[in-house]
C-alpha cells in the first residue's frame, strides 16, 4: 500500500508529502523559538537597570561556532545538489562535512562554553550595600558619565570572578562530616588570618557548586545547617578589578578571564549568588534554555544526517534503489538544518553581542 506523492510531487500543489510536512513542522518550530524569544524580550525589558549583563560570553568562540554552522548549511545544500546530480561520492563528502561541523558545534558548546560558566562565580550585591563595594563597582563614575549623554552605561550590581577562598563559621558543624567533605573535594581549611575562630577554605576545585554543597552540610541534627558562609574571596573579573577604567564601560571582543586581583564580599551583603548557572539570573536562565533547546535540535539534525550518510537501508544504500527518494530525504533534513542555523543567526547577536 503505497502512499501517493511520497517521492513525486502532487501536480496541483507542486509538493511531495515530506516537503510539506517539514515546512509545517518548521512553522511550529518558529512558534516554539518565538515563545522563547518573547520570554527573552519580556524578561529583559522587565529587568531593573544593571541586572541584565553584557559581555559575559566569549565572542570569538561564539563567532567561530556561528561560522561552523553557516559552513555546514552550505555543505548540506551541496550534499543535496550532489544527490540531484546523482554524484554519490560527492554527496558522501559534503554530508560528512556537515555532520562533522554539527558535531564540532556541540563539542565546543558542551566541552568549553557551558562548563566554563559553571566554574565562574557571581554575587548580586544588596542595594543597601552597594556603596560599601564602590571600589569594586565604580558606580559613581558611571553616574558622571551618563550625565554627559550618549548610550547609557548600566550601573553595576554584581561582583564576579573565580572563587579563591570562602571563609566559614564551622563552630556548629559536624567535624567528621566537614573533614570528609574537604578531603573529597581536595580542599584545605585553615584558620582565617583576620578571624581565627573562622575557617578559610580554599583549593583548586573550589567551584560555586562545591560551595553550595558545603553550605548545605548538616551538623548531625536536622535543626540548622552546620556551616555558615561568611566571606567570599575571589579573583575578580576585569570589570570589578578596574571598575573606573573607561575600558570597563563596554564589552570587548577578546574574552578576558579573571584577573589576579582579589576582592572580598561579605555574605550578609549578598542578595543572591551562584555559578553562572541557569538559576543565577533570568539572563542565564534564558541563555541556557535557548542554547540548550537549540543544541538538542543540532543533535537531532546530526543524528538524522548520520542516518542518511551511513550505508544502511534507509540511508545511503537507498541511492541504488531510489535516488530521488534519498534526495528528497536529504532535502528535508537540509531544510531542518537550515532552520537550526537560522535560529542560531538570531541567538548569536542577541546573547553574545547585545
Amino acid at each position: 500500500m503505497q502512499i501517493p506523492h511520497e517521492v513525486t510531487a502532487r501536480p496541483d500543489t507542486g509538493l511531495y508529502n515530506a516537503k510539506l510536512g517539514i515546512w509545517l513542522f518548521l512553522a511550529s518550530e518558529v512558534m516554539l523559538f518565538g515563545g522563547l524569544f518573547s520570554a527573552y524580550i519580556f524578561l529583559r525589558m522587565g529587568a531593573p537597570d544593571g541586572y541584565w549583563p553584557h559581555g559575559l560570553l566569549n565572542v570569538p568562540v561564539g563567532a567561530m561556532n556561528t561560522a561552523v554552522l553557516i559552513a555546514s548549511s552550505v555543505t548540506v545544500v551541496l550534499a543535496w545538489a550532489s544527490l540531484k546530480m546523482r554524484k554519490f561520492s560527492q554527496y558522501k563528502l559534503w554530508m560528512g562535512i556537515s555532520i562533522l561541523c554539527g558535531a564540532l558545534f556541540l563539542f565546543v558548546k558542551l566541552a568549553y562554553e557551558w562548563p566554563q560558566k559553571f566554574d565562574h562565580f557571581g554575587a548580586f550585591i544588596k542595594p543597601e550595600a552597594l556603596a560599601k563595594y564602590e571600589p569594586l563597582l565604580g558606580n559613581k563614575r558611571i553616574e558622571e558619565e551618563n550625565k554627559k549623554g550618549g548610550a547609557k552605561i548600566d550601573p553595576r550590581v554584581e561582583i564576579s570572578g573565580h572563587l579563591h577562598e570562602v571563609v566559614i563559621d564551622a563552630s556548629a558543624a559536624d567535624k567528621e562530616r566537614l573533614d570528609a567533605f574537604l578531603k573529597k573535594h581536595h580542599l584545605e581549611a585553615k584558620p582565617d588570618a583576620h578571624h581565627p575562630n573562622l575557617l578559610a577554605v580554599e583549593g583548586k576545585h573550589l567551584t560555586p557548586g562545591v560551595v553550595e554543597d558545603l553550605a548545605r552540610l548538616p551538623d548531625g541534627t536536622l535543626k540548622a545547617p552546620g556551616i555558615k558562609l561568611k566571606t567570599f574571596v575571589l579573583a575578580l573579573d576585569p570589570v570589578n578589578a578596574d571598575p573606573t577604567n573607561p575600558e570597563s564601560d563596554k564589552p570587548h571582543f577578546w574574552y578576558k578571564g579573571a584577573t589576579e586581583k582579589h576582592g572580598e564580599i561579605q555574605v550578609e551583603d549578598v542578595e543572591s549568588w551562584s555559578a553562572f548557572a541557569p538559576k543565577h539570573s533570568p539572563y542565564f536562565a534564558v541563555y541556557f534554555t535557548i542554547t540548550g533547546l537549540h543544541g538538542l535540535h543540532v543533535l537531532a539534525g546530526v543524528l538524522i544526517m548520520l542516518y542518511f550518510w551511513l550505508p544502511i537501508e534507509g540511508g545511503a544504500n537507498m541511492f541504488k534503489r531510489n535516488p530521488e527518494h534519498l534526495a528528497n530525504r536529504v532535502e528535508v533534513v537540509g531544510l531542518f538544518w537550515h532552520f537550526v542555523d537560522l535560529v542560531w543567526i538570531f541567538v548569536f547577536p542577541i546573547f553574545y553581542l547585545l
Binding site: M1, Q2, I3, P4, H5, E6, V7, T8, R10, P11, T13, G14, L15, L20, W23, L24, V30, M31, G34, F37, S38, I41, F42, M45, G46, V59, A63, T66, A67, I70, A71, S73, V74, V77, L78, A81, K84, M85, R86, G150, A151, K152, K250, H252, F253, K320, N322, P323, E324, H325, L335, F339, D341, L342, I345, F346, F348, P349, L353, L354
Partner: protein, 129 residues
C-alpha cells in the same frame, strides 16, 4: 544514470513518465548553476557574521539603535539562508501561505506581550514609567 519514478500506486493522475525524466535531466543543469550560488551566499554569510561582530562594538547612539542595527543585519542573513539555501525563492505558494501566517502570529505574540508590558494601568505598582 538511474531515473527514479514513483513505482508505487498513485491516486493522482499519473504524470507521463517522459515528462518526469525530462524534468529530471533538466534539473541536473539547474543544479550545476546553483553550486556557485550556494558557495557565494555561504561566503557572503561568513563575511556578514564578521560585520555583525564588528558593528556590535560601534555605538549608534542608544541601546535601541544598537539593537535595531544588529537585528537588521541578522534579518538580512536569515533572508539569504531562507531564500537561497531553503529554496524559498521560487517555492510553491502553499508554503509561502503557511509561513506568512506563522510570521504574522509570532510578531503578534511579540508585539502584544510588549504592548501589555508597555501599557499598564496608570498609577499602580505596575507603572514603571
Amino acid at each position: 544514470m538511474t531515473d527514479s519514478h514513483d513505482h508505487g500506486k498513485s491516486a493522482a493522475p499519473a504524470v507521463p513518465h517522459a515528462t518526469a525524466a525530462a524534468a529530471d535531466h533538466g534539473h541536473d543543469a539547474h543544479h550545476d548553476m546553483h553550486l556557485g550560488l550556494y558557495l557565494g551566499v555561504g561566503a557572503f554569510l561568513l563575511v556578514a557574521t564578521a560585520v555583525t561582530v564588528w558593528l556590535a562594538y560601534v555605538d549608534f547612539g542608544s541601546r535601541a539603535a544598537n539593537i535595531t542595527v544588529a537585528m537588521i543585519v541578522a534579518s538580512i542573513k536569515v533572508g539569504f539562508v531562507a531564500a537561497i539555501f531553503m529554496h524559498l525563492k521560487g517555492e510553491k505558494w502553499m508554503i509561502w501561505k503557511i509561513l506568512l501566517f506563522t510570521i504574522f502570529f509570532v510578531i503578534g505574540l511579540f508585539m502584544l506581550t510588549y504592548l501589555h508590558w508597555a501599557d499598564p494601568i496608570f498609577g499602580t505598582t505596575h507603572s514603571h514609567h
